[in-house]
Assembly symmetry: C2
Homo-oligomer: 349 residues x 2
């Protein structure tokens, strides 16, 4: 579709746009009493506890629309919040979505964004129950709040790990970061060639689709939460990995007042991540430890759950908690222990 054929948001107005975007939302949860359309949504959680998490995503800081399609952005924006509810051992149920957009965004752009949002919500059983749609002077700002439930007393905090607990991680790490490197590289190539007439832009993504998917379409690990419940495992502490394993391990240790030993060779890394790191001449373990946005789960279980936890599909034991005075260490293949450092994404602020 050409830009000319697109619909300016001013043609619909705020209420028209909201009506269009929320059209066809059918509520899936018994806990949603009243969704979009009033001063507030009404929820009824009966005897469950309520979990609330929120995230803000700013254009140019958290995402780059040069290579992030709006549908993927909607999907990912929903997913990072859904992931936080799972990370509490909860089940996501509702979401409010606020967007502020500048004049360059059209109604069709918002359709795309909402299509991604709705897909993520549908897959994870989440009802969109409210939000705000407004204008911004520059760029796109997104703020999402996700609400979920858990049985009374079953929420898992970051602060509950014991000193000998086993440290586990789901899936694999570093792939989303490698996906970002790949996209940034192709963007640089594109920018340097765009003025040569007749040059077609053919980004070189062959064999690296998995990395792109991990960056553009992350999947919150509700399956792991269900696996844990089915196996009768109640983690002692848990969080999702959004800023990188090192940084998150430090959070768990600080909040639980423990140290930790994590074994380098046990950190799960996908083949494509390793190949890409090699290609970029980067250390793959550094990427896995400090690259963010994998949205895998990091959790601890009591030693007594060892036999159960090693049976879990797509969960890997990477180390154990220790007494706090022993510090937080990465044990290299050589046996050398080095201190874990948070490199995370604080430089964004």
């Amino acid at each position: 579709m050409n830009q000319q054929e697109k619909t300016q948001i001013s043609q619909l107005g705020e209420f028209g746009l909201i009506d269009r975007l929320t059209e066809g939302i059918s509520l899936q949860n018994a806990s949603t009493v009243k969704g979009v359309g009033d001063d507030a949504a009404i929820l009824d959680y009966q005897d469950k506890q309520v979990l609330v998490t929120t995230d803000m995503l700013m254009e140019g800081v958290h995402f780059d629309l040069t290579y992030m399609p709006l549908k993927h952005l909607g999907y990912k924006s929903a997913m990072v919040n859904i992931s936080d509810i799972y990370a509490m051992n909860g089940t996501p149920r509702q979401m409010t979505v606020s967007v502020a957009l500048s004049k360059r965004f059209t109604v069709e752009d918002m359709d795309e964004f909402y299509a991604g949002l709705k897909l993520a919500c549908q897959r994870h059983g989440v009802d969109i129950v409210g939000g705000d749609t407004t204008s911004s002077l520059t760029g796109l700002a997104i703020s999402i709040t996700c609400i979920g439930e858990c049985e009374k007393g079953k929420a898992v905090l970051r602060s509950g790990a014991g000193q000998n607990d086993l440290i586990c991680v789901s899936g694999n790490l570093g792939a989303a970061y490698m996906g970002l490197q790949l996209l940034e590289r192709e963007k640089a190539v594109f920018n340097s060639t765009e003025h040569e007439s007749g040059t077609a832009f053919n980004p070189d993504f062959a064999g690296k689709e998995y990395l792109l998917e991990r960056q553009l379409k992350p999947e919150a690990r509700g399956d792991i939460i269900r696996e844990l419940q089915e196996a009768g495992i109640q983690p002692t502490s848990m969080m999702d990995i959004s800023d990188g394993l090192s940084s998150e391990l430090i959070h768990l240790c600080r909040q639980s007042n423990t140290g930790c030993s994590v074994y380098q060779e046990r950190i799960p890394i996908d083949y494509q991540t390793a190949v890409m790191a090699e290609e970029l001449d980067m250390d793959v373990y550094t990427c896995a430890l400090n690259g963010g946005e994998d949205y895998e789960l990091l959790f601890t279980v009591p030693l007594t759950d060892h036999d159960k936890v090693i049976q879990l599909k797509d969960v890997k034991l990477i180390g154990h908690m220790t007494r706090p005075e022993l510090g937080r260490h990465l044990v290299l293949k050589s046996g050398l222990e080095i201190e874990l450092k948070a490199q995370g994404w604080t430089s964004n602020l």
Copy 2:
């Protein structure tokens, strides 16, 4: 304090800033099980229903820092969300606060913003339980979600008004809009004189303090909700007036499938609002009908509650609902009926 003495946010980092801003938050509500510091907050509403509302405020669109002190902005940002919970006949209990800020904001700026937020929350018994602090390329973006409770079945929607219900409004209307006009006028004077050396900026606000307060420091009407409860009145429909009386009346009528007749001479207007309108050569009723941001409550009660509702302090009866085919009308002092039109703030989008 000079800009030079201020602390750059990069000196504290994201986590340092969050620690500083959330320091000294003491939880006031039994329903707050776990506040700031994990992937999500944990709430326990027992047998109550949960209300959730959210609002996004963008610099340059919703506020102008030229005349809006950051402390007032924090106060107002909290208040507009608290107001939405009251507008459901609920009690606000928790809030999440997300801010995205550009490099020009310092740690002290955020202290000011949070001081206002905390004051508003303290006054209305609200716990700050989470949020997100991140960076933006330009300006300040604020997104707040407020969570509240109400007894099962007691929430008041926009859609419940009956055809002969009485229409009531709290406080007075148009003052916040007049406050904005005043601030805009003084800003224009300031801008036109700032290059004249030796010219002191002395904004002329004498006798108009109330208008400024209504614009800069609105107060959500929890007192009215308590009055209604004490009087044993359950409104049939309710909302808060953020976009102007006309626009909100149209919402109530559409969602309740009614018409309405509202009497011009019954619309409550403060003396200062009238004086300021005269000074600006504006029609004061137009301001009261279409000016936004008063955050008063608009609600309907059954005819049978007439004698109770006229006893309420600071509540005025302004008209009644009608059959939908009769349309939505403003009855002028002359007896002439004119159709209500929404002029609201949709032009912002």
